[in-house]
Symmetry: C2
C-alpha cells in the first residue's frame, strides 16, 4: 500500500531533499504540499496554504513530513496526529523536551507513527564508525562543527530566536551522530556560550562531556559564525587501540588509521543526498510496523547546555 | 536496623530541618557531618572536612543526605554511590537532566537507593489538594511564587550562577507541587525571563503551560526580586465544578470554596517543619524497600524554560 504523504513547509530542504527522496521511494507518493505563501511545486501536486486547508480538501493523505521552522512544528504535528496521520518531524522535533514527549504521547494515543528524523544519523559513515567503536572501544571524542550559518541560512531569523537553537541547529546533528556511534549517555559538564547582539540563541559553544566511562575525554566546539574557507563538520575519535577515526563532511566521509573507508558518492552535492533516501526508507518501515521513533536525547543535551551554560557576548 | 547517615553540607536548612527530622526518626542516626569549614555540630557527632575525609575514618555510614550548593551535589553523589551509600539529594538533584539521569543509573548499578527529595511535595496541603483535583477535575491553575530571595539567601552567589537556577530554585518547589497534585504532564509553551546585571540565572519568570487537556489554562508568575510585604507561595486552582482551591504558604495551608481545610500546626515556623520529617520517613521506606525515587520532571520543565524562554534585562 502506498503511503500518501503531504509536505508541510516547502523551504529549501523540502524541495531539494524531501521531494526526490519521496520520488525514488515506491512506498511513498507525494500527495500535497502545504505552504503559507505561493511556491513552485512538482507537476500535478496540489498546493494548500495551511494544514486546515489540506484537511478541507478530499486529498486522502496518510502521513505528513513537517519541514516548517521548528517553533511551529509541534502545533502542526498536534493537528496531524489528531487527524490520525503519521508524522515525520524534521530535526529538532520541538523547542522543548516536554513538548517532544507530549507529541509522542499523542501519537501513541492516536495509533500513529511519529518519527523524529535526525538526518545525520543516516549518513553513510555512521554505521561503520559505530561498528569500529564497538569493536575497539574509545579513548576520546572531539566534535568540531564550524560553519557560516548566515551563508547556509540567509535571512533565517527564526534560527536566532529563543526557540531556534542558533549554533545548536547544526550542532544537534553532531550530537545525534555522537549518540548513534558511541551508544552512550553523553552528560554535558561545562559549557560556554556566546551570543551576537540582540540574538536569543548562541552563535558559538564549547562543551565538555563525560561518558559512562569517565576515562573517555569528550568535548565539542560549535561555531556558526565562522567565515573562513575550511568549514568543518567533523568528529575525531581515538579508539581503544590508539588509532584515529575521523568522520567528516557531516558523516559522508570516514577515515580509520589514515585509511579512507567511506567516500561521498560521485555526483552527490552533500551528505544529505544519501541521508534523506535512507531516512524515508526508515519512516516507511516504522509506518508498516506500526512503530514510532522519537529520540529526544540530542534535544535533551542541548536544552541542558542552554539552561546551564555560561553566557557572554560574542 | 538503624540507618547511619551523614549530612554533607551543613548550611541553614541542614541545621534547622535535616538535623531535627533525623533526630525524631528512629530509623535514622546522625553519624557524621561533612562541611568544608568549621561549624558547630550536634554533641558527639564527628565533623569531617570532605567526603574523602569521611571515607578515611571508620565511622560506618550507610547513607548521606547531600545539602551542599547544587553545583557540587552530583560530584559528591557520585562518590557516595561508588562507595555503596544510599543518597538523599536536596532539590534540585543536579544542574542538568542528563546529570540527574546519570546519578540514577549509577545508583541502580551499585544497588543503592537514590532519592531526589522535592520537599514541597511533602507539604500538608498537597495530598488533600490532589484528592480534590482528582475528584472534581480542573479548569485552571495559576502559580504565584513571589519572594525576596536576597532576604532568604543572603550572600548566596551560587543561586545566581549558571547552575543556580535563580528564581527557579524556589520556583521548582511550585512545579513539584503542580506535578504532584495534578498528576499531569505540564508542557511549557511560552516563557519570559528577566536577569539582573551580571547574573546568569533569572530573577523573574512568567510562563504559560498546557496540560494534556488543552482546555485547562495554566500559568505561573515567579519573582525572586520581590521586596513588598506580602511574599506569596500560592497555587490557585479552579476545579471542574467552578469552586476555587487555594494552596498557600508553600503548601501548609489549603482552602476550598472559602473553607479552610488545612492549617499550619501551632508552633511551626514554616511548612518545612512538616515537610522534612515526612521526607525522611519516605527516604527510610525507600531504603528498606530497596527502591529509588528520582523524579526529574520539575528539573526538566525548568531546563526547557531556561533553554527556550525569551530573555531580557530586569
Amino acid at each position: 500500500m502506498t503511503i500518501r504523504i503531504a509536505l508541510v513547509g516547502f523551504g529549501q530542504i523540502a524541495r531539494s531533499h524531501h521531494v526526490p527522496a519521496i520520488a525514488e521511494n515506491p512506498a511513498f507518493q507525494l500527495a500535497a504540499v502545504v505552504n503559507p505563501v505561493d511556491v513552485a511545486v512538482p507537476d500535478g501536486v496540489p498546493l494548500l496554504s495551511s494544514f486546515a486547508a489540506l484537511q478541507a480538501e478530499d486529498i486522502g493523505v496518510d502521513a505528513v513530513a513537517i519541514c516548517t521552522p521548528p517553533a511551529i512544528r509541534p502545533a502542526v504535528a498536534r493537528q496531524a496526529l489528531a487527524a490520525g496521520l503519521h508524522v515525520l518531524l524534521e530535526k529538532p522535533p520541538a523547542a522543548t523536551v516536554a513538548e517532544a514527549r507530549n507529541l509522542g504521547c499523542l501519537a501513541a494515543g492516536n495509533g500513529c507513527s511519529i518519527f523524529a528524523a535526525w538526518h545525520s544519523v543516516f549518513a553513510a559513515g555512521v554505521p561503520v564508525a559505530r561498528a569500529l567503536i564497538a569493536a575497539h572501544g574509545l579513548q576520546s571524542m572531539a566534535i568540531t562543527w564550524r560553519e557560516n550559518a548566515d551563508k547556509w541560512h540567509p535571512g533565517a531569523t527564526w534560527l536566532w530566536g529563543a526557540e531556534g537553537f542558533g549554533v545548536f541547529d547544526p550542532g544537534m546533528n553532531a550530537l545525534s551522530i555522537a549518540l548513534a556511534t558511541t551508544g552512550a549517555a553523553l552528560v554535558p559538564r561545562a559549557a560556554d556560550l556566546t551570543f551576537r547582539p540582540g540574538q536569543e540563541a548562541p552563535v558559538t559553544a564549547t562543551v565538555s562531556f563525560t561518558l559512562p566511562d569517565p576515562k573517555i575525554a569528550a568535548s565539542a566546539i560549535f561555531d556558526s559564525g565562522y567565515t573562513g574557507s575550511d568549514e568543518t563538520w567533523t568528529i575525531d575519535w581515538t579508539l581503544g587501540d590508539g588509532s584515529p577515526l575521523v568522520l567528516s563532511d557531516g558523516g559522508a566521509t570516514l577515515e580509520h588509521d589514515g585509511r579512507r573507508l567511506i567516500t561521498p558518492r560521485a555526483g552527490d552535492m552533500s551528505s544529505l543526498d544519501q541521508e534523506y533516501p535512507a531516512l524515508y526508507r526508515h519512516f516507511g518501515d516504522l509506518i508498516t510496523q506500526a512503530r514510532s521513533e522519537l529520540d529526544i536525547r540530542p534535544l535533551q543535551i542541548v536544552t541542558d547546555i542552554l539552561a546551564s551554560g555560561v553566557r557572554r557576548a560574542a
